[in-house]
């Protein structure tokens, strides 16, 4: 046992002593000023796989938990679609169940699936590997972060089993209705939801601390900020946003919990119900909306920015071309992140706030389209005359660009007050946000899983199943959400349990049935994808090292999948950005980040 531990131990070594044989002496290797991190080496099964401090295992734990809870969200969406497509057919779908499904579906997908998967899952797995660190800077805190997330998920799930069921207030949880009798789950469900969200925020803050500080302070030598992969830039900026935005959700949750449990009036106005006045007075429901959307809008970018970053890397690797306008891409990410804090009230045009406020927020909303459009142009220009390999990650990346442009353009319409007022609370909005922050980030997640699965498991996912998965998901998503835009135009309101025979529905009935069938098919395809993951993890085709011929550090670890400590005895030294594909002047097709200039003396440096 002891010997084994000694073997596992990673020795600290000054870099300038023995690396001469590794790299020709012409290259200047900076002395390691930062002493190497002391790692905690797991000794038992429990500390290695369960209470683990290795960021890679924590990342996988995050991803599995998020996927499990995401499956529940998927099943809830089927419930909603069955009710909308075939009303009065299924006896288990009453109005309460419908609203609970809507609420839980929304909250699970936005917070517990997308945020946790991008930052907790990909963040944990990729950050230390891509910046060339052995682990996160505070591994213990990182572990606690995951367990807080798990507890938050369990609290959320437990609300399905309490009297009254989970809350049915809509994912925005607007008071006063969220905590008033008459809303499903106003007894226990809403309290559990608020507690779960608070725990999530605390847990996330612990994780976020790690992501930010690892990226800022624990990179390997030579890895300047402007040599980091865009994936890291996306995750970094999104984490900063999350650290600043989640407190608003936390504050709102605390105050609403007290309104509910202690009878305070933070958000509760004077209310008359059943001929009696309740004890509350003077509170402002609009204040809650401001707090919620001050979190809620950055949340959109917390999900979108990692997707932007990852897709840039996927496109570059699979088109064998450097990313067009790297610096511009970084700036766009940072500018989008900053602007995302001054657009929140465009979710509140019909809330009764001052109309001049709406004018201001419409302007900022349109301004944010500029850096976003720059990113889209740069992706397209990266593809332009690229050596495009239509691998599955590339297919998903292309799917992302198209879907994101689609959802982004409807966002421009909705950002204008005058267009938003008739369209708000219709299915147009549902179609818009599912396109832009549902399907588009999911496309990236799928692409990223197909891309990094060989790194994580050492095996490829099945390609045939993957292609089936892509085409059904992609075409199916459009079959679901394109008709919804039309439903919105003819005025079908969202959030309604049933339309009965209102005049809207003359053309809407058939469409709704079509959407439901498409949603069921797309949903089942995701189960096929999960089967692919499980099956390939054990029986998939073995992958060689660096199967996509990528440049970033995670593919250049001594072992694949990387072991605890990531990089063997010596941390790599970085000499270039990760996008040196098809560089003119040399016979290599790609130059990994740690290749020294003297090994490729004739390579031309490309301006970015």
């Amino acid at each position: 046992m002891d010997e084994e531990n000694n073997n596992n131990k990673i020795e600290t070594k000054a870099a300038d002593s023995s690396s001469g044989s590794y790299v020709p002496p012409a290259d200047n290797i900076p002395a390691s000023e930062i002493p190497e991190q002391e790692l905690y080496h797991a000794k038992s099964f429990w500390t290695r796989w369960v209470f683990c401090q290795d960021a890679k295992v924590i990342g996988v734990q995050y991803a599995l938990t998020a996927t499990a809870v995401g499956l529940i969200g998927l099943i809830l969406s089927w419930g909603m679609r069955l009710q909308l497509g075939f009303p009065e057919t299924f006896s288990f779908l009453g109005p309460a169940t419908y609203y609970q499904s809507v609420t839980m579906h929304g909250m699970i997908m936005v917070v517990y699936l997308l945020t946790a998967l991008f930052l907790g899952g990909f963040g944990n797995y990729l950050i230390p590997l891509m910046v060339g660190a052995r682990d996160m800077v505070f591994p213990y805190v990182n572990m606690v972060s995951f367990w807080m997330f798990l507890v938050a998920v369990l609290v959320l799930i437990s609300s399905f089993f309490v009297p009254g069921g989970p809350t049915g207030a809509g994912w925005t949880l607007y008071p006063p209705q969220a905590i008033m009798p008459g809303t499903p789950g106003s007894e226990m469900g809403i309290v559990l939801m608020l507690i779960s969200l608070s725990l999530f925020v605390i847990g996330f803050t612990m994780g976020g601390l790690n992501y930010v500080i690892t990226i800022l302070q624990a990179r390997t030598r030579g890895m300047t900020l402007m040599r980091m992969p865009l994936t890291i830039w996306g995750i970094f900026t999104a984490t900063v946003l999350a650290l600043l935005a989640f407190p608003a959700l936390f504050v709102a949750c605390i105050m609403m919990t007290l309104d509910n449990l202690l009878g305070t009036s933070f958000f509760m106005p004077e209310i008359f119900t059943m001929g009696e006045q309740l004890g509350t007075s003077g509170g402002s429901p609009i204040l809650f909306q401001h707090l919620f959307w001050f979190f809620g809008h950055p949340e959109v970018y917390i999900v979108a920015l990692p997707a932007f970053g990852i897709v840039s890397d996927l496109i570059s690797v699979h088109a064998r071309k450097n990313i067009f306008g790297y610096r511009m891409m970084v700036w766009a990410i940072v500018i989008i992140g900053a602007l995302s804090f001054v657009v929140w009230a465009h979710h509140m045009y019909v809330s009764g706030m001052n109309p001049y406020f709406g004018f201001f927020f419409a302007t900022t909303t349109l301004i944010i389209a500029v850096p976003t459009a720059i990113k889209v142009y740069n992706w397209v220009l990266t593809l332009w005359r690229g050596n495009i390999h239509l691998t599955i990650p590339m297919l998903f990346s292309l799917g992302f660009i198209v879907t994101f442009v689609n959802g982004g353009i409807t966002g421009l319409f909705l950002g204008n007050v005058i267009i938003d007022i008739p369209l708000s609370d219709t299915y147009f909005v549902v179609a818009h946000f599912h396109m832009v922050m549902g399907i588009a980030p999911l496309m990236v997640i799928f692409g990223a899983i197909y891309h990094w699965f060989p790194l994580i498991s050492g095996r490829h996912l099945n390609q045939t199943l993957g292609k089936i998965h892509f085409w059904i998901s992609f075409v199916g998503a459009y079959a679901i959400y394109f008709p919804m835009h039309y439903l919105g135009f003819i005025g079908v309101p969202r959030r309604y349990y049933e339309m009965y025979d209102s005049p809207y529905m003359t053309t809407g009935v058939g469409l709704n049935q079509f959407i439901t069938v498409a949603a069921l098919i797309v949903g089942f395809t995701q189960i096929l994808f999960l089967y692919n993951i499980i099956h390939s993890a054990f029986y998939g085709e073995k992958s060689e090292k660096n199967p996509w011929k990528a440049n970033s550090l995670e593919w250049h670890t001594p072992e694949m999948p990387p072991e605890h400590g990531n990089f063997g005895k010596e941390l790599p030294v970085v000499y270039r950005w990760p996008y040196d594909f098809s560089v003119p002047g040399i016979d290599r097709e790609y130059i990994p980040q740690h290749v020294a200039p003297s090994e490729v003396p004739t390579a031309k440096v490309e301006k970015t």
């Binding site: 900076p30 407190p247 007290l258 007075s281």
Partner: protein, 211 residues
């Protein structure tokens, strides 16, 4: 090799393709700021807490404009607690200075006094709560009361979190199993956090006194 700290915006406008920049970049040690990881961690926590408290202050200012707002009286005990907290901060500064001078025996005593004062502050806050409850001033009686209870509770939780790390440092120091520069750094970080808590309390208490 001493390096100059550059601003974030300067860093992201570097031109990595220029040969002169590439030479500098190859020399780069991988740190963005010249600050320890733990210190940056404490700073991040303080930023996040500042956002939380600022949002409460904004909500407070929004809510107090409504006609049903009845300000709370400030009992003298609250002023005493404020005084204790100021004293705690001063003592922590002294602890830090003592540690820097390597006078670790005095540091131990000083740390214990800090802990005692902090616990006294928390007890004092609980007594204030008891005082208000005895007066019939519950959280649901008035929004001003509700804010008072929430803000003091949240500040108290932050103090408790600090005490956890104070406990860690104190045990390290008493077990004599420490690395000298590390323990100095830890004491410094705790002191920074205590000063932060004092400033937060000034803002919160000032807000409650002023309105």
């Amino acid at each position: 090799m001493k390096k100059k700290e550059e601003s974030f915006f300067k860093l992201i406008s570097q031109k990595p393709w220029e040969a002169s920049q590439a030479i500098l970049d190859n020399e780069h040690d991988g740190k963005t700021f010249i600050v320890s990881k733990a210190k940056l961690g404490v700073r991040t926590v303080m930023v996040v807490s500042t956002v939380i408290f600022s949002l409460f202050v904004v909500s407070y200012s929004d809510r107090m404009l409504v006609h049903d707002w009845r300000s709370l009286s400030q009992p003298w005990l609250l002023w005493i607690n404020t005084l204790i907290l100021i004293l705690t901060s001063v003592m922590f500064h002294r602890t830090k200075v003592l540690a820097e001078r390597n006078e670790f025996d005095k540091t131990k005593n000083s740390l214990l006094i800090v802990g005692f004062l902090t616990f006294a502050f928390l007890t004092g806050q609980l007594l204030v709560w008891q005082h208000f409850v005895n007066l019939g001033q519950y959280a649901s009686t008035n929004p001003a009361n509700a804010f008072f209870y929430v803000l003091t509770a949240l500040h108290g939780l932050h103090v408790l979190g600090g005490l956890y790390f104070w406990g860690k440092v104190t045990t390290q120091l008493f077990k004599e199993s420490y690395n000298v520069s590390k323990i100095k750094h830890n004491i410094e970080l705790c002191a920074i956090y205590w000063h932060f808590l004092l400033i937060v309390w000034f803002v919160l208490f000032g807000l409650m006194v002023a309105t």
